[in-house]
């Protein structure tokens, strides 16, 4: 350790400070230095939710290849240490840039009769130890600063789990890390087929966490635990979420990245959608927040399709129009205005597709309920549409009188629109 060298020199007799002190001190300078280092290294932890670490944990638990994108020195290794502890796996770190391709594809060992017996490819020692242990967390750091041939060998390791003649046992989980394209010194770039096999997680540092950590208190993330009781439901939910979206949006199934800005990142394909499905199931079983799921989904199929999936998950949470129509009195409508309006629109659309008198009445009852429990402006559009669905022999229900306030509100907005138009006309005249 180079940092120790000057201190070691202090301890030599040629140093004036040490040679002149008459009774030799029991503790050498190195011991004092060790005490100081112990003090410096002493830090406490505090619980703090950490979305990116939780996302990483879930992806690793799901046994999907993860690629952490982050500038050097922002705590990727520290996060991996914490992850290994949480998963109770021994951590093996391999710095890719100091290895040669043969370290990963295996070193050829020539025997007595190569033509007869072939040339076995010997794996490196750490791989042998990993295989012998049967379990562990393998962290391939600095993938992006390795020469292209090393990167190629490493990708084979990540994706096929083979090192030379060895196959890594299923208990070994692999995480790789790379610097963003802009800061990578060499020609690191993932081709689209390779990028499609990874869960891409952006690793950033939190200013507050760093300042507080240097002050002696580092965060301790509470990591998700999969709930055995939730497994079956989680799989059903994940399948419904992905299939529901892709059935409605066939174009999202496969979109090769076209622009230069999106190269090397996540993009949607049947393969990455399958990974998404797995991750939704894991996040659901672990009870993770939507923010964590958002990191995972966007890191697998990309931002656009990921956000569409999340939006459709929000829709899945909304009450079903048919259930609401069946029991308008017991209906619970969402609090959030935009979701509430989506529900009301859905109810009116359901009446439109199968119009009959009782459904029409039930829809009016729902609108009255919406008016009594929330903002009135949300009810205007659904009420107007519902009114237009009336058939000649249907009487206006009595409850509709309660919606009189909505009509007033709508008129008030109309008047405001008229005044706004008049004012802009005056302003235009004055301007010319």
């Amino acid at each position: 350790m180079p940092a120790c060298t000057p201190l070691a020199l202090v301890d030599t007799p040629s140093d004036p400070f040490v040679s002149h002190s008459a009774p030799a001190p029991r503790t050498s300078q190195l011991d004092v230095a060790a005490d100081l280092l112990t003090l410096l290294r002493h830090s406490t932890t505090e619980p703090r939710p950490d979305d990116q670490l939780e996302a990483l944990t879930l992806a690793v638990a799901a046994d999907l290849p993860v690629l952490l994108w982050g500038e050097p020195g922002i705590g990727k290794t520290a996060a991996l240490t914490q992850l290994a502890e949480a998963l109770d796996l021994p951590l093996t770190t391999v710095i890719a840039s100091v290895h040669e391709p043969s370290d990963f594809s295996g070193l050829p060992i020539v025997g007595d009769d190569p033509a007869e017996q072939g040339v076995p490819m010997a794996p490196p020692d750490w791989a042998v130890r990993l295989v012998r242990a049967g379990r562990g967390l393998l962290f391939l750091d600095e993938l992006s600063t390795a020469p292209p041939a090393v990167q190629a060998a490493l990708l084979r390791l990540v994706l096929e789990r083979r090192i030379g003649a060895l196959t890594l046992p299923p208990g070994v989980r692999i995480v790789a890390a790379a610097n963003p394209r802009g800061s990578a010194a060499d020609g690191w770039e993932l081709s689209p087929p390779l990028a499609n096999r990874f869960v891409h997680l952006q690793w950033t540092h939190d200013h507050e966490v760093v300042v507080r950590g240097l002050g002696g208190t580092w965060p301790r993330a509470t990591l998700p635990r999969l709930d055995p009781a939730k497994l079956a439901g989680a799989v059903e939910f994940a399948r419904r979420a992905v299939c529901g979206l892709l059935a409605a949006r066939p174009k999202l199934v496969h979109q090769l990245p076209s622009s230069e800005a999106r190269r090397g990142g996540a993009w949607p394909s049947p393969r990455s959608w399958e990974m998404t499905l797995t991750l939704i199931a894991f996040a659901t079983a672990a009870g993770s927040s939507r923010d964590v799921l958002s990191l995972l989904v966007r890191g697998t199929v990309g931002d656009g399709p990921g956000l569409e999936l999340l939006a459709s998950l929000d829709r899945m949470d909304l009450p079903d129009p048919e259930t609401l129509l069946a029991d308008p009195a017991g209906a619970v409508l969402p609090e959030r205005g935009d979701l509430r309006q989506a529900v009301l629109d859905g109810v009116v659309a359901a009446v439109r597709t199968r119009p009959d008198r009782s459904r029409w009445d039930a829809a009016w009852a729902l609108l009255v309920r919406a008016l009594e429990t929330g903002a009135p402006d949300l009810v205007v559009v659904p009420a107007t549409t519902l009114a237009s669905l009336r058939q000649e022999d249907w009487d206006v229900p009595a409850s509709i009188e309660k919606l009189a306030g909505v009509v007033t509100l709508s008129r008030r907005a109309d008047h405001a629109a008229d005044r706004a138009a008049a004012r802009s006309a005056v302003a235009a005249k004055a301007g010319r």
């Binding site: 060992i109 020539v110 041939a149 060499d186 020609g187 956000l307 929000d314 935009d338 005044r419 706004a420």
Partner: protein, 424 residues
Amino acid sequence: MPLASDGPRPLDLDKLFAARLHAARARPYLATALFALHPVESRWVPTMAVDRHWRCYVSPAFVDRTPVEELAGVWVHEVSHLLRDHHGRSERVARERELRGPGERLRMNIAADCEINDDAFGDGLVQPEGAVTPGFLGLQPGELMEDYLRQFRLGPYTQNLAWLDCGSGADGREREWDLGPDGAHGLSEQERDAVRFRVAQGISGRRGSAPAGWRRWAEEAFHPPQPWRELLGAAVRSAASGPGAGEDYSYGRPSRRSAGVPGAVLPSLRRRPPQVSVVIDTSASVSDAELGSAILEVAAISRAVGGRRDMVTVVPCDAAADIAYPLCRGEGIPLLGGGGTDLRAGFTRALRARPRPDVIVALTDGQTPWPSTRPPCRTVVGLFPRSPSSYDEDDAEYIPDSPPAWARVVEIGSGPGRFAVNVV
């Protein structure tokens, strides 16, 4: 602001919601966002203010004295702060430029207001009284908050803006009335993104109905254009260090490890610096400043991947390309030309060089015929946008040939995206 003299009156919710309805009718593409806002009555706020969790604090007295049509304008204004992520951008700007104190936050609020107000009103929406516009500060319209922030100071002009306060949703500074992340009816980060995404999709799906500022926001909100330097750098790097050039393993010489494995042939690490040819379109439409910075960039990148300055060749090209210059004489390269361009001549000239280039970087505005077949080396095209504003719709009838599929294309001149949130 003094409260009404006859004691505090309750918030006139009907007026407030009538205004929101008018706003949603006038700006249908913002309806989702407007309805997602949760109004909270507050006697602390001077007018209306938002926090980052999409709550909208409303002063009852302000609602009382403001006509419905102006209130609608305030609704749109406040929701714009949230959609455009002004709180996140303020935080980032504060950290990057080390701006501290309430005065700086007030400036951020004013700059954010300028970004919103220059095209938020009109077309059915009345500009609320006291709205700050770039014109009010003597600035040009159509710029972003970060740009406005550089262009004015607090002074006599802004003196009567000191009461202006759009809340923590506009400038990132927590207010005493904020309910905080744990309060009721807040939106989580993912929910905020989802609302912004739906609004952006609505705007992109209905081209033409939204003003240019909103269309630009919708385009960039989730796919921010990356800085072209990084993209060009990545493209040239990966072209110059692929197999055959740059640093890689070769069997040309035995590896130093071979001694340990008798009988086996191991590859060794060898470096062959890449030969880069820069073909430059010298037609009049590309400015010297753009060209200069692009050439310097290419030279810096090729040096970073192990090339030397004398291994970069520059081929100026208009209708013909006669001479190739080594970059070490770069300062004196005549970039004269004008008139029509034929990049095919430039490609031919670059490929005639010995040794043959590993990479051709073509810097052009794309108004040129392209080679019909793929050249025998990697090709990166740095494309200068043709019109000064890529949102100019008057120029729609002329569509130039796009660069061929075998080239990697980087658009030069588009700035970094600043609307983006969460997309690192």
